[in-house]
Symmetry: C2
Subunit: 97 residues, 2 copies
DNA sequence: TCCGGATATGCGCTTAAGCGCATAAATGGC
DNA sequence: GCCATTTATGCGCTTAAGCGCATATCCGGA
């Protein structure tokens, strides 16, 4: 079931675009993702919640910010899916934001 | 956009299970998939339509049967996604049918 | 031409996804 | 303690997904 949940999480354009940003390994607050992806606050927050529920990312409180980053404990088999997806977005050009 | 469509197509358990079967490279009629996946006829037919719309599979009329197989012209970047997904299902055990 | 098997599709229904809006909750600074 | 900033969440709405049922369509064989 976890796999279908991962695929479903990645299948939404804004979430996929967020994963492209987050997959660099760094930390990114919701406000940054909002700005870069042109999303409202509640929309962005909920999308991040979906990615978190799929265990693709983890979050960390840092003062008034919440920093998201890729889940370092993601099983390799799942990480390979994300890698392949990110690579494919690079090939096909851009993903809607 | 094609990538999110592929991910969405793969994110449904019965469709994912169908892809596991079809990814062997052989041809499979709807009736076979129905039987193996415990799906009704209309349900299976529609699911295959979704996979076809995502260009993951192609179909061919053969007498009263329609044979589905993996799309040989699927871009490599997309094929890698499917490969990673199939590999992950093998790791995690089984996918609901 | 008629029939039976295999597949697709129109229709209506139910449920889930995604959204905006308003509001709550957490935190630092004053 | 109070306020501004950042993030999460309850609520209601709209739309899309998935399903079963019935029916249409396609095909070979008698």
């Amino acid at each position: 079931m976890a796999i279908t949940q991962i695929l479903s999480a990645l299948s939404e354009p804004t979430r996929l675009a967020a994963m492209q940003i987050i997959w660099d390994g760094g930390e990114h607050c919701v406000c940054e993702l909002m700005d870069r992806l042109n999303a409202t606050q509640s929309r962005m927050s909920r999308h991040m919640g979906v990615l978190k529920a799929a265990r693709l990312v983890i979050d960390r409180r840092d003062a008034q910010w919440v920093r998201y980053r890729r889940n370092p404990d993601l099983p390799q088999s799942a990480a390979r899916i994300v890698d392949a997806v990110i690579a494919a977005t690079a090939v096909e050009g851009k993903v809607a934001a």
